[in-house]
């Protein structure tokens, strides 16, 4: 019910249709990784999925934002079925909840920049995506480019301006044999920026 309302509101304000360029929607286990410029990004990628996929595709969300207020927490956990991640922790492995979700067969939506950027193109990627790609080689890595959201809801603003935003889905990729961490992360970033 709330999920339907959120999708309807997203469609009304920012459109948020999915454009599948390099692959189609699929039940296969995937990690979707996208550029990050606004608080709407998580909901937009999620809303761009066909309804039947939304249950098994879980957005990875920062606990310090989505876990805070009661409303955010409810939407994150009950509606989006998000995996909350602790960005501050130094002690335990922050990727632990993601690995658990992947082991359970779920797909993930990930923002490898780690935080919202302000530039037109995404900042360098954090290494989490590399570690997941290495630990789960069978999972498809799908680059996603979110267009226009940095204009619709730039960092520091409160209300989204209605602009048509789209989520472009690119060609699935994998970690190559013997590929180094920086090389892989740069290739992944280029796969996203290539759709800008």
């Amino acid at each position: 019910m709330i999920g339907t309302l959120i999708v309807a509101a997203t469609r009304l304000v920012v459109g948020g249709q999915g454009v599948w360029i390099g692959c189609g929607p699929s039940e296969r286990q995937r990690i979707y990784f996208a550029n990050h410029s606004s608080h709407l990004d998580t909901i937009l990628v999620w809303a761009a999925m066909p309804p039947e996929l939304r249950q098994r595709v879980r957005p990875v969300a920062a606990a310090d934002y989505w876990g805070k207020g009661r409303v955010q927490r409810h939407i994150a956990l009950k509606v989006l079925n998000a995996v909350l991640i602790d960005r501050q922790t130094r002690s335990s492995d922050p990727l632990e909840p993601l690995k658990a979700a992947l082991s359970a067969g779920d797909s993930l939506i990930l923002f490898p920049e780690g935080t919202r950027g302000t530039g037109e193109l995404p900042s360098p990627f954090k290494p989490g995506l590399y570690h997941l790609a290495k630990a789960f080689p069978q999972v498809e890595l799908v680059p996603v480019f979110l267009d226009n959201l940095r204009r619709a809801l730039p960092k520091g603003s409160l209300v989204p301006v209605p602009l048509s935003c789209v989520a472009r889905f690119g060609t699935p990729m994998h970690l190559e044999q013997g590929e180094t961490k920086p090389a892989f992360l740069e290739r992944a970033r280029e796969a996203v920026t290539g759709m800008a």
């Binding site: 204009r151 730039p154 209300v159 301006v161 048509s164």
Partner: protein, 312 residues
């Protein structure tokens, strides 16, 4: 409710017209053989289908009165403005100006129509938005492309909100015994029939391209034949207006000319932004602004001509 007695007949007439168009479209789709012809007919039938939806929406609004009609035009302006700003390369620092356009000036304009405040309706966006929006963009301190950005934001607001709001603004005119909703019907019918007839006449007789760089499908033959036919349609509708038949023809002619020029100007704007259609909302028609482009120019002109010469 004698107001709406005539409207029932008018909407019935439009529905009958659409039935005929659908039948013709279906018949043509069975007889066409060439590949290019099939494409044209498929596009034609997609347009007719979209017309059914649009006529249904308009019919509901017209029959339920001013409030629903205004809400419909709020939605139209909203989608047109969204299409315009989506194609416009603004900077993130234009966010406050665009938010003000959407959340302050759009509702304000239609509220002014609702309370019949003609003077403020005429200056709210051309004066107050014109002065306020550049201030909001300036406060962010980004000067790169500043003039282009504020100019485009104002242009979008003028076209999508100010110009389009003049169509439902016809509802506030006092025309003696004539219900003003019939004038809105007159405007929308003449504009849209002009588009359709120019399209059909262009397909049938089109030889000489009118503006190959701006709108490659428009021809002089289409404009003249379709435009005159639409003027005739307007003249034939004189009995629902406060105009004499000759005056109705004159008004329809003004609407046709303004509409054609509006279509060309918006086409030029669209192309300067690097797009072919404003959006993909209506199948076969492109976006909302592709359907409203003629209205943006015709509505203010028709409103002021009527207000000046015929309103009390």
């Amino acid at each position: 409710m004698s107001d709406f007695g005539t409207m029932h007949y008018l909407i019935g007439g439009v529905v009958a017209l659409l039935v005929v168009a659908s039948l013709v479209g279906w018949a043509v789709s069975r007889s066409v053989t060439s590949e290019a012809g099939r494409e044209t007919v498929a596009n034609l039938n997609a347009r007719i289908k979209a017309w059914w939806v649009m006529v249904a929406i308009f019919a509901v609004a017209f029959l339920f009165g001013k409030a629903v009609t205004l809400l419909l035009f709020v939605a139209v302006s909203f989608y047109c403005l969204r299409e315009f700003y989506s194609l416009t390369p603004t900077h993130p620092s234009d966010h406050p100006a665009m938010a003000a356009a959407f959340y302050i000036f759009l509702p304000l304009q239609y509220w002014l129509v609702w309370i019949d405040w003609v003077t403020m309706l005429t200056i709210a966006i051309p004066v107050y938005a014109f002065l306020a929006l550049p201030v909001l963009s300036m406060l962010k301190g980004v000067t790169a492309d500043y003039l282009q950005r504020v100019a485009k934001i104002q242009w979008g607001l003028m076209l999508a909100v100010f110009c389009i709001s003049h169509a439902p603004a016809l509802l506030m005119l006092d025309l003696g015994g004539v219900p003003p909703v019939q004038l809105l019907f007159f405007l929308v019918t003449v504009v849209q029939m002009s588009d359709v007839l120019q399209y059909v006449a262009g397909k049938l007789f089109g030889r000489h391209k009118m503006a190959p760089n701006v709108s490659p499908s428009k021809t002089w033959e289409g404009l003249v034949v379709g435009g005159l036919a639409a003027t005739g349609v307007g003249a034939a509708l004189w009995w629902i207006t406060p105009f004499s038949p000759l005056e109705a023809a004159g008004m329809a002619f003004a609407i046709v000319v303004a509409g054609a020029l509006g279509g060309l100007v918006l086409s030029a704007v669209k192309r300067s932004l690097g797009a072919k259609d404003w959006g993909a909302m209506i199948q076969g028609h492109g976006g909302a602004l592709d359907r409203m482009d003629s209205v943006t120019f015709a509505a203010p002109l028709f409103f002021h001509l009527t207000n000046y010469f015929f309103a009390r």
